[in-house]
Symmetry: C2
DNA sequence: ATGGGTGCAAAATTTTTGCATTACC
DNA sequence: GGTAATGCAAAAATTTTGCACCCAT
């Protein structure tokens, strides 16, 4: 199966999930789901809208928000809040976490398995169930650390810029 | 040393840090720092403003934002983005992470030490340096899981509400 | 045909900014 | 006295909502 075919299949699956939950399949929703599946990664609502509008300019940003909200209620999509105000959306089935660089805004992915013992700790000691994927680790990426001349592997706190 | 005395001491320390970084000590800033230290936990900018304005109603919300921003540049304060848009602020020296319940909005703290090996993994494998404390784990707290009748300890994905 | 979905525009929310004034160092 | 900081109000940025119309089922 080519990548394209597997993406198409996923789009159909998601649309079927929508339909079976008494939601209607509209052109806007088809485009939005296709954008999410095609992106593979993370998109802001505005980025989703941009991709969709390249195909069909009539789709409104408000519709994107409403569709993302509907998909999220169904557990198909997840969003996380990163830096300043804007949230990023992605499919729930890509089980990874996000390393968000607060300096350059880049998002790196880290496979869920790497952090499995984190979840064990949190779940057992705190009775708290983390949302898979709905999770961002904020910090500084390797590139930015080099750029700033920091060593980086210390686990120390934030970098004061007192005399910036 | 009583709690009150130790808080006062911390306020003085923070103000000294501000002053030594060529910032001015104003009444607004004294109130804001006192509010942050006194709260011990997490406050939104608006909550900080409310505490401050109980003492001095003339302090404007914009000043709170500007002061929090200044304190953050100095590494004294950290903010994290939780649910929808609003961020919470706290002192950087309380080394803990946040378990944010997306259902009831409660925030539980988890000591940094619990997750130290997480940081080792992230730092070593990904060259990424997480910001201590600048970190929220989003999920569902024990209380809400009982309320919803979920078992909770499965590490499974998000809870679809297809037939809500 | 029925009611869920859409486009549009306006409101709501949270945070930022320009500017004249105040007050800290 | 010089200038950082403030208050105010207006702008920005992101997300939500009311409403009339449209279209999937």
């Amino acid at each position: 199966m080519t990548l394209r075919e597997s993406e198409d299949k996923r789009v159909v699956e998601v649309l079927a999930h929508l339909a079976s939950s008494r939601h209607r399949i509209t052109t806007a929703r088809r485009h939005i789901v296709t954008a999410l599946v095609g992106a593979g990664g993370h998109l802001t609502a505005e980025e989703v809208a941009a991709v969709v509008q390249a195909q069909d300019p009539s789709v409104h940003l408000a519709t994107v928000y409403r569709t993302l909200e509907a998909l999220e209620r169904l557990g198909i999509v997840i969003h996380i809040h990163l830096g300043h105000g804007r949230a990023i959306y992605h499919l729930a089935d890509s089980s990874h976490y996000h390393l968000y660089c607060q300096l350059c805004g880049s998002v790196q992915e880290i496979p869920q398995a790497e952090l499995d013992n984190l979840f064990a700790v949190v779940a057992n000691s705190y009775g708290f169930k983390p949302s898979l994927g709905h999770f961002a680790i904020i910090g500084t990426c390797g590139r930015c650390m080099e750029r700033k001349g920091l060593n980086g592997l210390s686990s120390g706190g934030s970098s004061p810029e007192s005399i910036a």
